[in-house]
Amino acid sequence: MKNEWPLWEVFIRGQHGMSHRHVGSLHAPDAETAVKNARDVYTRRNEGVSIWVVEAKHISATAPGDKGPLFEPSESKVYRHPTFFKIPGEVGHM
């Protein structure tokens, strides 16, 4: 018998208009309790306005071993960054 509660990944939105960010994980018997636990573990210091939880097993991830083929090709494509444009001073911060 497996006694361990499932693992949940926790995502918190810090302010309105921002996106949810992964902040960590925790154990809980069900989704509702996971949200409550997330509230208690990750928002004690006023960090958030919204919480998402998802059971870790539902997350599909890239394999660390595939880092080369997946990400290295883009390293040499500097032209994909719009860094060659001169931004007029009047535009200010972008």
């Binding site: 509660w5 018997p29 409550k36």
Partner: protein, 254 residues
């Protein structure tokens, strides 16, 4: 003859002391809860309760008018001067009993605070409004845990039923009014405790039945906490831990 001021002071002590003593009990779990998530949740609850105690006792100090701070009131009284309900001073027992005691108290607080929001005393109403937000979460959380453990494994169910049998005789005290309560009612500050019972029984009955727990039939009820007539033997032990530092080093600050 007790004056209005004395009655209000007693009323505020009852609210403040119940939060204070339950806060201390809950804090005893810090670092000992069965899982990290529950450990932090209990510590959060304890901190909410101590925040409430601070507000009630600060107002109590003002009403009393002897220049006492919430710390003076919390740490420099002996057991017979405390006015918390007995339920809050009972030993934690196992995790299930702690959460059941929490639920029985949270349910009471959620109903009482809902009424105190409309108090004629603006300070009481303001403290109740702030407390209500905390309590709404507390009662949801403790109710879920009571249902989870009560309707859980045979082992957890048995323990929860034992916990309910142990705690239930301390519930009646929450609804036993006296002359202080009547004075508060007449001043429009608070409802009398008896009038909260029906709503309480409905809320608690619903959760306990979902938790497959049976409410004991006996109507017997311990009393003496909120009047200060007689506390359980457990309060003195609790205070000796809680007050030790201020007793050994009076006025110590850090």
């Amino acid at each position: 003859m007790a004056t209005d001021k004395d009655n209000l002071y007693q009323f505020l002590l009852r609210l403040g002391d119940s939060s204070l003593i339950l806060s201390h009990r809950t804090s005893e779990w810090c670092g000992h809860a069965p899982v990290l998530e529950e450990d932090i949740a209990l510590a959060n609850t304890a901190l909410d309760l101590i925040g409430q105690a601070q507000m009630w006792l600060e107002y109590a100090g003002e009403v009393q008018g002897e220049g006492k701070t919430p710390d003076d009131i919390a740490f420099q009284r002996d057991a017979w001067d405390f006015r918390n309900v007995l339920l809050t001073e009972l030993p934690n027992g196992d995790f299930g009993r702690t959460l059941l005691r929490q639920f029985l108290f949270d349910a009471y607080q959620s109903i009482l605070m809902g009424r105190l929001i409309k108090s004629s005393d603006v300070t009481v109403a303001a403290i109740a409004a702030k407390t209500m937000k905390e309590v709404t979460y507390h009662v949801e959380r403790s109710a879920d845990t009571v249902v989870g453990l009560g309707d859980g494994t045979p082992e957890s169910h048995t323990r929860m039923q034992e916990a309910l049998d142990y705690l239930w005789p301390y519930v009646g005290e929450l609804f036993q009014g006296d002359e202080v309560d009547i004075a508060m009612f007449q001043a429009g500050i608070s409802p009398t405790p008896e009038t909260l019972r029906e709503e309480y029984d409905a809320l608690v009955g619903r959760v306990l039945s979902e938790a497959t727990l049976t409410v004991p039939e006996s109507q017997f009820s311990h009393k003496g906490g909120r009047t200060g007539a007689m506390h359980t033997e457990h309060l003195g032990h609790l205070l000796s831990t809680m007050q030790w530092l201020q007793r050994a080093y009076p006025g110590c600050e850090w």
